[in-house]
């Protein structure tokens, strides 16, 4: 190994790992979307396959997360508080933990999603995904913001997108509430009601974690 002090002083950026993790999150969530949509269409076998894929992707993301965490021992200096960075990464990972919980719970039982709630149910899912999409934009910006440009304009834009994450999470809460009411109003058996309610709840958790991650970034880039 040649002695190349400057190259060794400069470590591989953990922000690259954060972005790698974020893109894994996107891949996993788009699979989750397909898994839930096929489930709602009654294609349970196909949904099961997609769900397995979600679980596998969650594991891959976990490995990326661990790799990044392992690359941050004591003595590594980051442009942001290291603890803030780690919290952000863990929160971003929690998004996938919820996604995994949701698909596993979904496949515990083949509950037909009734016509009355199907539209609201999918609206709930799409809103959650809008929320995580917005978060990904924030994470991409945060790398630029922290490591390259430091421009005021970009920080303001990023703050705006974080507000958007908040807004979408709030909208989703409303949708989820409406959906819960409609599920209770269904003439279904209690088991189906329980299954659907908890599934909706777990899907909602994804947006909650995305919102938390947004808050972490807010704290990170605040001046």
């Amino acid at each position: 190994m040649p002695r190349i002090p400057i190259f060794r002083v400069l470590r591989k950026s953990p922000f690259d790992g954060l972005l790698e993790h974020a893109s894994k999150v996107r891949e996993c969530l788009s699979t989750l979307k397909e898994a839930i949509v096929t489930y709602s269409e009654g294609k349970y076998e196909e949904s099961q396959k997609l769900s397995d894929r979600v679980v596998a992707l969650e594991h891959e993301a976990d490995l990326i997360k661990n790799k990044v965490l392992m690359s941050l021992p004591r003595g590594i200096l980051l442009p942001v508080e290291k603890s803030e960075f780690i919290r952000l990464l863990i929160e971003q990972d929690a998004i996938l933990n919820s996604a995994e919980d949701a698909v596993i719970w979904m496949n515990m039982r083949k509950t037909k999603i009734p016509k009355e709630i199907k539209e609201d149910f999918l609206r709930h899912l799409y809103k959650v995904l809008e929320c995580t999409d917005a978060l990904e934009k924030v994470v991409i910006n945060v790398k630029k913001l922290v490591t390259a440009t430091l421009s005021r304009k970009l920080r303001e834009t990023t703050e705006k997108i974080i507000q958007e994450v908040h807004k979408k999470e709030y909208e989703d809460d409303t949708i989820e509430k409406e959906l819960a009411k409609k599920i209770f109003a269904l003439p279904s058996d209690p088991l189906s009601v329980f299954h659907l309610l908890k599934l909706s709840d777990l899907i909602g958790d994804i947006a909650t974690h995305a919102e938390n991650a947004g808050d972490r970034i807010s704290a990170m880039i605040a001046r």
Partner: protein, 404 residues
């Protein structure tokens, strides 16, 4: 007393080995930020470093050197030509061994520091502690702490200035206002260093300050028009810094060759002079062919080790943005200039590391490993005693063989 010719051959071989080391180890230091910032590719960096290091060594490198580098040891206190030749050889060998061990252990030591340590060892063993100019040694050792510290503080300041005046504004007008200042400052530091740091000014009948100022004015004007053109062509801020950075890297390579060639060639010249004249002088001349040999050695080190750098690093290099790379180069160059103006033999390596830590502390880098910095500090403190001790041992081993 007869001094065998093969003593000179031996010194020459070890001298070339040291030159190889200087090229091999320092290429990454002078070119790293430019490569890390993707201003140039690794292959281009190696080519530039090899060519400019060679040019620096041969055409700007000093043709006169102290008999014992930097006047650490009073050569008249030794008087006996054989002792001087043997001691110089031992010092070169001692420094060479330490550099090799450090390289193998991947400890970033400086060839300059090793030579200084070895010469102290040689002085101690050949003339006793009276022949060593201790205040000079203290001065040198102090400079090793001050120059990276200075380069670190400078990097923080320059980076903050770039952030506040350029990066936060991101307006074309601000950039247009700042760019003549930056290009002017860069030209000033580069030209003044070349004039002061190297013996170029002695070769050209020019006043270093006025000619640097003149060139700076030209540089600023060129910078202004050039920035205007780049802005019209919609080149971003980083793109403009990229061009500035190529300039500063080239300077670091040139100055590196000019300065460090003496580490390898100086002892060679001393032995050569003793061999030819048979007496001990205060100063010795360095023939051009010897500088060329040193320059070749450095260029060879740059090219051979360069490939290892390519194969080992690959994608592992973290990307530096051009503003950061420029800050590092600029701080390094300035720190070296000022230190050497004060007569301190400083190490490029350590000035670079100081600047990197500075930008890191200013929160400009994505991840800085402070543990590596600590390791660098350890090896730094080790260099002097280890190279001194190995020189003493080598000298005591060689001496009985020759003195019969």
């Amino acid at each position: 007393m007869e001094i065998p010719f093969f003593l000179f051959i031996a010194t020459g071989i070890i001298g070339i080995y040291m030159a190889w080391n200087i090229g091999a180890n320092d290429v990454s230091n002078s070119m790293a930020s430019a490569v890390g910032a993707r201003a140039i590719t690794l292959k281009q960096a190696i080519l530039i470093a090899a060519v400019l290091d060679f040019i620096g060594a041969v055409f700007i490198g000093s043709h006169v050197t102290d008999t014992v580098r930097k006047g650490i040891v009073d050569p008249l206190g030794i008087a006996d030509p054989l002792s001087l030749a043997l001691g110089t050889l031992s010092a070169l060998l001692g420094a060479g061994i330490w550099v090799t061990i450090a390289t193998w252990k991947s400890l970033p030591v400086s060839t300059t520091h090793s030579i200084v340590g070895a010469l102290v060892g040689f002085g101690l063993v050949s003339g006793g502690k009276e022949v060593i100019k201790w205040n000079k040694v203290t001065h040198i050792v102090l400079s090793w702490i001050i120059s990276p510290l200075f380069s670190c503080i400078l990097a923080i300041l320059i980076f903050r200035i770039i952030v506040v005046f350029i990066l936060k504004k991101r307006s074309r007008e601000a950039l247009l206002k700042i760019s003549p200042l930056l290009t002017g400052m860069t030209t000033f530091i580069v030209t003044l260093s070349l004039f002061l740091k190297t013996p170029l000014s002695q070769k050209l009948p020019l006043n270093p300050f006025t000619s640097s100022l003149g060139l700076t004015l030209i540089g600023s004007l060129l910078g202004f028009f050039w920035t205007k053109k780049l802005i019209q062509r919609k080149v971003g801020i980083e793109g403009i810094f990229r061009k500035l950075q190529i300039m500063t890297s080239c300077y670091v390579a040139l100055a590196h060759g000019a300065n460090d060639v003496a580490n390898a060639v100086g002892p060679m010249a001393t032995v050569y002079s003793v061999l030819r004249s048979g007496v001990v002088a205060l100063k010795v001349t360095v023939p051009l062919w010897m500088l060329a040999v040193g320059g070749m050695g450095i260029a060879l080190g740059v090219t051979t080790w360069g490939y290892r750098v390519i194969s080992t690093l690959g994608s592992k290099i973290t990307t530096l943005t051009n503003t950061r790379g420029f800050t590092i180069d600029f701080s390094t160059a300035t720190s070296i200039l000022i230190s050497s103006k004060l007569g301190m033999p400083v190490s490029t390596t350590h000035a670079v590391v100081g600047a990197v830590v500075g930008v890191g502390l200013a929160r400009g880098l994505e991840a800085v490993d402070l543990r590596v910095v600590r390791r660098i500090l350890y090896s730094w403190f080790l260099t002097l005693p280890v190279s001194a001790l190995s020189t003493i041992l080598i000298y005591q081993g060689l001496f009985p063989i020759f003195r019969r």
